[in-house]
């Protein structure tokens, strides 16, 4: 994959950056430019909003890869799963930090940031999301999504005299 092509996909691969239709609230990943769900889908062109997935989901199907593509030989055997995210979109990605034989349909998972592949010994290293088993300590009930944490434009008043 060329550097430019991967770079363009950085928001998608690093931060699960999808989009959401403001009319029907359907979430898409990867982002697209038109909402095919809405009856008047032409009117959605250019109106879909950026939307970051939470990274939480569950395995709906998987396979175990024993004969890997070039660049993935060191990781076999590994589980490659279709994960249905909390927001709806289904993603295909490896499930790491688990014995592949323990992966099962219904397994709760969370996104984790991992190295995807290297362009040889001297080339660019590509990073992005994979999934890891969700345990109790990675189950944030109130974890904000991107749309809920719009950055404030001005610092709030200093609330404490403490200086870290």
């Amino acid at each position: 994959m060329s550097i430019a092509r991967f770079w363009r996909e950085t928001p998608v691969r690093y931060n699960l950056g999808g989009c959401r239709c403001p009319t029907c609230l359907t979430v898409y990943f990867p982002p697209r430019s038109v909402c095919p769900v809405c009856v008047q889908h032409r009117s959605s062109i250019g109106r879909l909003e950026p939307f970051q997935l939470s990274g939480e989901g569950e395995v709906v199907s998987y396979t175990v890869v024993h004969d890997a593509a070039e660049g993935f030989e060191m990781q076999v055997p590994y589980a490659l799963a279709i994960v249905k995210t909390r927001e709806g979109p289904q993603l295909t990605a490896p499930v790491v930090d688990i014995d592949p034989s323990e992966v099962r349909i219904g397994l709760k998972v969370r996104a984790t940031f991992r190295k995807l592949r290297e362009e040889g010994k001297a080339g660019v290293i590509h990073y992005g999301y994979k999934f890891a088993p969700m345990d109790d300590v990675h189950r944030p009930p109130e974890r904000p999504t991107q749309s809920e944490t719009a950055p404030s434009t001005a610092p709030t008043a200093v609330a404490s005299e403490s200086r870290a």
Binding site: Q75, R114, V137, R139, A159, S160
Partner: protein, 340 residues
């Protein structure tokens, strides 16, 4: 913290040495091993994502982000910019990689202190993270591990107030890795008295002198911990007790995480510390220097939400042990077909 672990006994089994005895001599029972798809960038990102969620901090409010490591994946291309992008902190921030052997993370904390203190940034992020290696069969191989910790430095909702910091730096060639070399070299026993012990003790004593404190002032103490023995010995030299060192000493369970070592020890202390307790942390980096911090845990720690993320103790107790062959594969020690 990576999932995988290997024991000194297993390493010794391959090289025909008494690995268990080596582990006992070093005070290391297990060390962490990164998976093939983990490096300093991924470990730093995971640590910082957890920190931001716990601290309920908008990544766009981060004005500075520094990653201290001696195993940055690129020789030229910053780790910090990838981490900043991956946590959603770009583009309005300054970011850079720090390198000072094992104390680059504590140096990053000091830099953030300056920026936050001068009100140039609202939040600064200091990360210490490494996936360092020892040459196969070298004494370092029994301890060199992987892990990292991220700290957000700010003026608001402070759980641990850094009251004083002081550094002690000299040119001391105890441990190094030349450009292009895969594994580091070291001066054997020279890494002890003139290097680690001199810098840590001098730095700690000078800091306590400045702060007007003594060893009894502190509930917890954290030292850089290249193995399990050095920090205990330097603690005794300075007058600290085993109880004070208990939570700050993590190397026996996970090995030497280099730039992450003292910071993971501090994270473990903050997992259990109570409001009003004082903490002394002294980092050390070969080459050589120490950074010391006099820290006071505030009442804010009682309101700090730890419900998300893994407690450090769980990392210390957990993990999956792997044999040396798998370790060698994971760490790229096996030459594959097609490689020159």
């Amino acid at each position: 913290m990576p999932l995988y672990r290997i024991t000194p006994a297993e390493i010794g089994r391959v090289w025909g040495t008494d690995g268990a005895a080596m582990g006992a001599a070093l005070g290391v029972r297990r060390k962490s091993v990164p998976a093939p798809d983990e490096d300093t960038i991924t470990i730093s990102t995971e640590a910082l994502r957890t920190a931001l969620i716990r601290g309920k901090i908008d990544p766009q409010e981060i004005g500075a982000l520094y990653v201290g490591s001696e195993s940055h994946p690129y020789a030229v291309k910053p780790t910090a910019s990838v981490v900043a992008q991956a946590v959603g902190a770009t583009p309005n921030l300054t970011a850079s990689d720090f390198e000072f052997a094992c104390k680059a993370g504590t140096a990053a904390i000091q830099t953030c202190l300056g920026l936050v203190g001068a009100e140039m940034v609202r939040y600064g992020v200091a990360i210490g993270s490494d996936t360092s290696q020892g040459a196969p069969g070298d004494a370092l191989e029994y301890s060199a591990s992987a892990g990292g910790a991220a700290f957000v430095i700010g003026r608001e909702r402070v759980i641990a107030k850094i009251r004083h910091t002081l550094s002690y730096t000299t040119d001391t060639p105890d441990f190094w890795r030349r450009e292009g070399q895969r594994y580091p070299s070291h001066g054997g026993r020279f890494t002890g008295e003139p290097a680690y012990f001199r810098h840590v003790t001098e730095c700690a004593q000078r800091l306590m002198e400045r702060a007007g404190t003594n060893p009894k002032s502190y509930a917890h103490v954290v030292f850089h911990q290249p193995n399990g023995k050095f920090p205990q010995r330097v603690g005794r030299m300075l007058g600290f007790t085993e109880a004070q060192m208990r939570y700050g000493l993590v190397t026996p369970q996970i090995g030497n995480t280099y730039s992450g070592a003292a910071l993971i020890g501090l994270a473990n202390v903050l997992d259990v510390a109570k409001a009003g307790e004082q903490v002394l942390m002294v980092g050390y980096g070969s080459g050589a220097g120490s950074d010391a911090f006099d820290i006071e845990v505030t009442d804010e720690i009682n309101r700090f939400d730890r419900s998300y993320g893994t407690p450090v103790q769980q990392f210390l107790d957990g993990g999956v042990e792997i044999p040396y062959a798998v370790y060698a594969k994971f760490r790229g020690k096996i030459r594959m077909g097609g490689e020159s």
